[in-house]
Symmetry: C2
Subunit: 405 residues, 2 copies
C-alpha cells in the first residue's frame, strides 16, 4: 500500500481526496497496489466531513512518517507551499501540485531538488486543469520538435468572452454576472488581466524550450478593453475573439505572449467556448494536434493531481522525466513580430487612414455603426503598427486587437 498526504483541504485538495477514495479500484489496478490518503493538512478542522479523522495541523507529522511517499500540494501561493514542497522533496517524497504560481516561479529548482532525491515533482494540474497537456509534452510527443503552442488557458475569461459573443453583452455586465454565479473571483484581476494565463504559458514555454521562460518577461494583455462592438466586427469578419497564450520558436529564440486575438473560424480553437480550455501544439513531424477539456473545477483539476499521484506510485524511487533547466530562455522582442491588426476609428478619416496604412488595408463598415469604421491591416511588424497607431490616437473609436492567422 502506498500512502499519500494532501496539503490544503480547499476545493482542489478535497477533490483529490474524493478522486483517490472514490476511484480506489481503478487506481489500484493502474498502480498495481492500493493507494490511500493518510493525512490531510489544514489549519481548520472539518467536523462532520467523511475524512475528518485524516485532518492534521502540523506538517512535521507528514515529514516524520516514512509511510507517506507522495505529497499533494493544493494550498496555492508561494509561501508555505514553497517551504513544504522543498522539505518533502529533500526527504525523497514526491510532490504533485496544482499550484501554477509556485511552478512558474520555482519550477526548475524544485525539479532539480526532486532529481537529486530520486523522487518527482509533477504539476499536470497547473495548466489546463483536467487536460493532460504536461504529460503529453513530456511523454507523448517525444519524437517531435515542438515548434509552437497556442492555448486558451483560462476558463473565466473564455466564459466571459463566449457570453459577450453570444449575447452581445458588455464586458462589465458579463463579469458581474459571472461573479454572482461564482465563475469569476470577486477580485477578478488575475483572470481578466491575463496574469493567470501568463503563468500557464510560461510553464508550457519552459517545457517546449527546455529552459526557463520567466513569466515576468512575457508580454501580457487582458480582456478588459474588449467590447460588444468588437464582437460585432468579429462576426462581420467571420471571426471570434479569444484570450490566447502563444509560444513560438523564432530561430533560436522564443516568442511568448498573452493577449486577446481575433481568430478565424478555420482555427480548431474557434469553437472552444465557455469554461473549456484547449491547447494547440505544433510538432515538426506531427503537425497540429489539440487537447481540449475542462480547464478548471474541483474534480477535473483533482483528477489531474491524482493522475500525477498514480504516475509517482507507478515509479517509486525514480524521477519522472521533465526537461526544464534553470537557464533562462532567450525571448524574442515583440517589435519584429509580423501579423495583421484590427482597429476602429471615428467616421470621416478614411483618406487619412488609407494614406497611412497603404496596401492591403481592409475596411469593415457595420450597418449599425455609421459613426465609426473598422480596419484590418496587411501583415506588418508590431513596431511599424505601433508607430502608425500612435499617429491616429485622436480618431480612435476603440482599442486595437491582434489577428492570429
Amino acid at each position: 500500500m502506498i500512502q499519500a498526504a494532501v496539503l490544503g483541504y480547499g476545493t482542489v485538495g478535497s477533490g483529490v481526496v474524493e478522486v483517490i477514495e472514490e476511484n480506489r479500484s481503478v487506481i489500484k489496478r493502474n498502480v498495481g497496489e492500493e493507494l490511500h490518503v493518510k493525512y490531510i493538512l489544514d489549519l481548520r478542522d472539518f467536523p462532520g466531513d467523511p475524512y475528518e479523522k485524516k485532518v492534521i495541523h502540523d506538517f512535521t507529522q507528514i515529514m516524520e512518517d516514512d509511510e507517506v511517499k507522495i505529497v499533494c500540494e493544493t494550498m496555492g501561493g508561494v509561501g508555505a507551499a514553497y517551504a513544504f514542497t522543498k522539505q518533502a522533496l529533500a526527504a525523497g517524497k514526491s510532490v504533485c501540485t496544482s499550484n501554477k504560481e509556485l511552478v512558474a516561479a520555482h519550477g526548475p529548482e524544485l525539479l532539480a531538488l526532486a532529481a537529486a532525491h530520486k523522487c518527482s515533482y509533477l504539476f499536470e494540474a497547473s495548466v489546463g486543469g483536467g487536460i493532460p497537456i504536461i504529460r503529453t509534452l513530456n511523454n507523448a510527443l517525444t519524437a517531435d520538435r515542438i515548434e509552437a503552442i497556442t492555448g486558451i488557458l483560462n476558463g473565466t475569461t473564455n466564459y466571459i468572452l463566449s457570453k459577450m459573443e453570444k449575447e452581445g453583452a458588455s464586458f462589465e455586465a458579463v463579469l458581474k454576472e459571472a461573479q454572482e454565479k461564482g465563475y469569476a473571483e470577486r477580485n477578478p484581476e488575475a483572470d481578466v488581466e491575463g496574469y493567470d494565463t501568463c503563468r500557464k504559458i510560461a510553464i508550457l514555454s519552459s517545457l517546449m524550450t527546455g529552459k526557463s521562460v520567466n513569466y515576468e518577461k512575457i508580454y501580457t494583455e487582458g480582456i478588459t478593453k474588449i467590447t460588444a462592438r468588437d464582437f460585432a466586427y468579429a462576426r462581420a469578419l467571420g471571426m471570434s475573439i479569444k484570450l490566447l497564450a502563444l509560444s513560438r520558436r523564432v530561430g533560436e529564440e522564443t516568442l511568448a505572449m498573452t493577449a486577446p486575438f481575433l481568430i478565424s473560424s478555420d482555427s480548431p480553437l474557434y469553437t472552444v467556448n465557455g469554461v473549456f480550455n484547449a491547447v494547440l501544439v505544433k510538432g515538426n513531424m506531427l503537425g497540429e494536434s489539440m487537447y481540449y477539456g475542462r480547464g478548471a473545477g474541483k474534480l477535473p483539476t483533482a483528477s489531474a493531481v491524482a493522475a500525477d499521484v498514480v504516475d509517482c506510485a507507478r515509479h517509486m524511487g525514480e524521477t519522472l522525466t521533465c526537461f526544464w533547466d534553470a537557464g533562462e530562455a532567450a525571448l524574442v522582442s515583440m517589435d519584429n513580430v509580423a501579423r495583421r491588426f484590427f482597429f476602429r476609428v471615428k467616421a470621416g478619416c478614411k483618406e487619412r487612414i488609407e494614406k497611412l496604412f497603404g496596401e492591403g488595408l481592409q475596411e469593415i463598415q457595420l450597418p449599425e455603426a455609421s459613426e465609426e469604421t473598422g480596419y484590418v491591416t496587411g501583415v506588418m511588424k508590431e513596431k511599424e503598427f505601433a508607430a502608425l497607431y500612435e499617429q491616429i490616437a485622436d480618431v480612435l473609436a476603440g482599442s486595437r486587437i491582434r489577428i492570429e492567422a
Copy 2:
C-alpha cells in the same frame, strides 16, 4: 546507443526512418542516449534512397543481431507481420506498430507475450494516427474510470462527409474526386463501409474495459447511403453528419458501434472536418476531454510510431503498462439502446407517420423538397424504432440516420 529495425519500407515505415533520423537530437535528449535505425526490412531494394544501405531482405538478420532492441512493424496485415512480431517479442525485442488489423485481431496475445519477455508491444499509431490517444488512456487519465469514448477515427470518410456538407455534392462524386487525389483507396471498402473505424474502436473499447472487444461483433454501418439531401436536413436541424465510433459502459457491459450519426453543433466533434480525427473521452471525474489531430498521413503516423520507440528506449527491460486481457468483454445488445432517429418519407403520409410515431415527433420540411418530409423521432429504443421503420418501408425517401445527443 539504442538500435532499432523497421519492418516494411512503405509510407509509414519510411516516415519512421525519416522522423528518427531527422529528429535525432530531440530524440537523443528525450531518450537519454542516441537512437538509430540499423536495418530496414523490405522485399524490395531502394537504389538512390538515402538509407538504401540499411535495407535488408532477411528477417533472421534482425533476430540474430542482439544490438537491435526495438522493432517497428509497419508492414500491415496479419500474416508475416504477426509471425515477425511474435518472434521479436519472444526474443525480448520490443515491437512498435501502426498495424491496427493485427492489434485488433491479436492484441492481448501479443501484450502477454511482451510481458513474459520483459519487453513492450506498443501501438499508438494504430488509432488516430498522430493523436496520442493510446498513451492518454494508458498513462494520463489513470485516476478516472473511463465511461465513454466517441471518435471520428477515419480521415477518408471524414474528408468525404465534410466535402459533401460543404459543397452539397453526392457521395459518389466526392469519393471519385478523393480517389483521384489519393485521399481514398481505389478499393475504398475498408474506409467507406466503416471496417477501419470498427477495428479502431475495438482497440479503444478494449483499453477502456481492460478486456477484449471482438471487432467482428461490433455493429458497423458505413457512409455509402448518406446523400446530399441528408446534409440539407442536417443543416436545417443545425447539425452535421459524421461517421462516429462509440464505446460506452452500460452497467457491467459495453456498447460499441460504428455508424453515421447526426451530431449537434454543441458537440466538440461538430467542427472536426476534412482528414482530421478526434477522440472524445468521458471520465467519471474529469468529465469530457478531446484529443484532435491528423488521423493519417506519413509523418503524423510515423511520429506516433517513433514516440513509441522513444518510450521503449526510455524503459529498456521493462514492460510498459497496458490493461487488455484476453477474456472477452460482454457487449450490450443494440436493441435496448435508446436515442432519437431521423428518417425521410414521401409526401402525403403525414397522418400515418404521426399515428405510428406519436409523441415527440419533429417534422422538417425543406423548402426545396416538397416531394418528401423529414422527421426526428422522440427518444426510443433501437428495436422499437426498427419495428415501426419496417412498417413504413413503402414510403421511405432515404435511409434513417441515428442522432447522437
